[in-house]
């Protein structure tokens, strides 16, 4: 789960990391009111999960009420790289003299956390990592011990953080690591950590991504989850318990097993079609899951056809076929053509059972994908 900036900031602030005063607003009037209360200048920032918000016009500075109104009006409702902005964070602008970077992430190759500190904050840190890797100091953390205090000091010294703020930055990093561990985060990041003209440090942005697999032990973070969805279909998928990712094509895809579903997407692309989604129904799919999966994919207005790719391992092809029949027979009409490919255990029996008045069947993955692409082309031509 990826928290919004305002959510991450509230978590950071509760833990004692200095953040600027801020208020979330969903209307222009609310935004102006918040700005008046905080005092100018303010930054008005779109709350969407998009990198490079500033460049894309999602962050604007306002010096007075008129500018605040203009900025909020421009940002609220705007389309930012495919996402509609529903809310803005109105935040007191920081009078800064320097911008630093502080982060903690899981280094999957090393199998442990790595803390990172850099003087080159305020820019895309991944670009810094690419172009000037020595500008980022790093320290791996032993998961059995957690971060030793000396490690926090060391990485701050290694990054050549100016002496006046080094102890404040060390304190922020210690807190950030503790938060990373306590929230089962995959990434916790402050970019930039601003140094003010008074010599204080302030977190002007906040990133907190939490391991989905650990949410069960963080009921306190659940409240954030509902607001973290940016797509109604992705919210629906979460309710059904599917692994689902929405793309922008018109060939809907349902399958079992992450690797096989990814491969089905890749084949749609390989044969010249455009995948609309990734949907993994998982192992041992029962009729209800099949129905829910079809409901999901049918309700995506971009989808013109659906390809169902099932490889029966422990799951039996005949049971899947029954599930598909039940699911489709319960509908008054099949809104979009469905191609089914069953292979593996009891696939032959499955194909015999499938109601071919309701679905098209193919024996191989390649044929099924190509049939679906043809279906999509026919719909598009109509």
């Amino acid at each position: 789960m990826r928290l919004h900036e305002y959510q991450a900031k509230s978590v950071f602030a509760d833990a004692g990391i200095p953040t600027p005063p801020s208020t979330l607003a969903t209307t222009v009037d609310e935004a102006v009111e918040a700005a008046e209360e905080i005092g100018y200048p303010v930054a008005i920032k779109a709350q969407v999960h998009v990198g490079g918000r500033g460049k894309a016009g999602g962050i604007k500075l306002a010096e007075d009420g008129g500018e605040a109104r203009e900025a909020a009006d421009a940002i609220l409702g705007m389309d930012l790289k495919g996402y509609t902005v529903d809310s803005v964070l109105v935040e007191g602008a920081v009078d800064f003299v320097d911008e630093l970077y502080v982060g903690v992430t899981m280094d999957r190759g090393a199998g442990k956390a790595v803390t990172m500190v850099s003087r080159k904050g305020g820019v895309d840190i991944e670009a810094v990592a690419e172009e000037d890797p020595d500008a980022i100091a790093r320290e791996h953390i032993d998961p059995a011990f957690g971060q030793h205090p000396f490690q926090a000091r060391k990485v701050v010294y290694d990054a050549d953080i100016p002496g006046e703020v080094s102890s404040d930055v060390t304190k922020v990093l210690s807190t950030l690591y503790r938060l990373w561990e306590d929230t089962d985060a995959s990434d916790a990041e402050i970019n930039p950590l601003m140094v003010t003209s008074d010599g204080d440090v302030v977190a002007a942005d906040a990133v907190l991504n939490v391991d989905d697999d650990a949410l069960f032990r963080h009921p306190d973070l659940e409240a954030f989850e509902e607001e973290s969805f940016e797509d109604d279909l992705e919210r629906k998928a979460s309710e059904y318990g599917f692994d689902y990712v929405r793309l922008h094509g018109n060939v809907g895809i349902i399958g079992n097993g992450a690797g096989l579903v990814m491969t089905t997407l890749d084949l749609v692309d390989y044969f010249g079609g455009e995948p609309a989604n990734f949907l993994d129904i998982g192992g041992g799919a029962k009729a209800e899951r099949v129905t829910n999966a079809l409901d999901m994919v049918f309700s995506d207005p971009n989808v013109d056809t659906v390809v169902f790719n099932i490889f029966g391992g422990i799951t039996r092809g005949d049971e899947v076929a029954k599930g598909i029949n039940e699911a489709l027979e319960s509908l008054e009409e099949i809104p979009k053509p469905v191609v089914v490919r069953l292979a593996g255990t009891n696939a032959t029996e499955g194909r015999e059972i499938l109601n071919t008045e309701l679905v098209q069947t193919e024996e191989t993955l390649e044929d099924a994908v190509q049939r679906a692409i043809e279906n999509a082309a026919e719909v598009t031509n109509e």
Binding site: M106, R108, G109, D213, A258, G259, T263, D266, I314
Partner: protein, 289 residues
């Protein structure tokens, strides 16, 4: 020949009394796996499918001279189950469980560096040596003995290609699913090294996917250390950055690392042919045999 497991492997099932554990214990025994005991806290003294259950892995291992375990324990308790298996100690542990918190696995990973036990998984379908034994949930009926070694991050994708191979009369030495999580016990390189040392494995197929850099590291290993030819496949060419594609580990980072292109390029540079479709993978294998 085979790698890691054969008909003599003596196996404990951790979580044998749960739905999955019970079902797959039956499936494994039907296939010929030598299941000697189960371990479930509080269920000591019971029997499942004729297999005695113990409260601890240590006791089960001691009473039955076991050397391996398969873990079907829910995610919240799975890391603890792995620690218990490492403590027993067992030689080989297969964790099937999907959804173990990554920070739990970091702690497991740390412990693995201090012990001799090999962990496979988690979030994997297990391992099968066709005709001898299987530890996990792989469907035994689609595999057949032969000379191809398989190593994969994905279960059903592996079945798909095994099916393509079987249709051409090509069998397998061992198939190992290393799992779809970001932190796993046995890597591609570990598996490739084992296949390289196995005289009966004539070709290895490696199924990678987006996320991390394991495939790139494996490509380097293949170029420098292997004589056995390898065929590759990489899933996730169309995956958008920043989205988790089912597997916790299958994610292209926002900055564009872990892409399919990078992995395919690395494999090609190492002289490994990479199939565009599962069928093409089978074509390459057939040519190399």
């Amino acid at each position: 020949m085979s790698i890691l497991v054969d008909e003599d492997t003596r196996v404990i099932v951790q979580g044998i009394t749960g739905g999955e554990g019970k079902f797959h214990t039956e499936q494994m025994m039907e296939y010929g796996t030598n299941i000697v005991a189960g371990a479930v806290p509080g269920k000591g003294g019971q029997e499942v499918n004729g297999v005695p259950v113990y409260d601890t892995v240590e006791e089960a291992a001691r009473e039955h001279d076991a050397d391996a375990s398969v873990i079907f324990v829910p995610p919240a308790f799975a890391a603890d189950a792995i620690f218990e298996a490492l403590d027993a100690p067992l030689d080989f542990v297969v964790a099937i469980t999907e959804g173990i918190p990554t920070q739990d696995m970091a702690k497991v990973n740390k412990r693995l560096s201090e012990v001799d036990t090999r962990l496979q998984g988690p979030n994997c379908p297990g391992i099968i040596t066709p005709g001898e034994t299987k530890l996990g949930i792989l469907p035994g009926n689609i595999f057949s003995p032969g000379n191809v070694g398989l190593v994969s991050r994905s279960g059903t994708l592996t079945y798909q290609v095994v099916n393509n191979l079987t249709e051409r009369g090509i069998g397998q030495t061992t198939a190992i699913g290393i799992g779809g999580d970001p932190i796993i016990g046995t890597s591609f390189i570990d598996s490739l090294a084992l296949f390289e040392a196995d005289p009966e494995t004539e070709v290895v197929v490696m199924f990678g996917e987006i996320g991390g850099e394991d495939e790139e590291e494996a490509a380097e290993f293949i170029a420098n250390e292997m004589d056995t030819p390898v065929v590759g496949f990489i899933a996730g060419r169309t995956a958008p950055p920043g989205k988790r594609m089912g597997h916790a580990g299958a994610i292209v980072s926002g900055s564009g690392t872990g892409t399919a292109e990078s992995k395919i390029q690395a494999l090609n540079d190492a002289g490994v042919p990479v199939g565009d479709t599962p069928n093409e993978v089978a074509d390459h294998v057939e040519e190399l045999l």
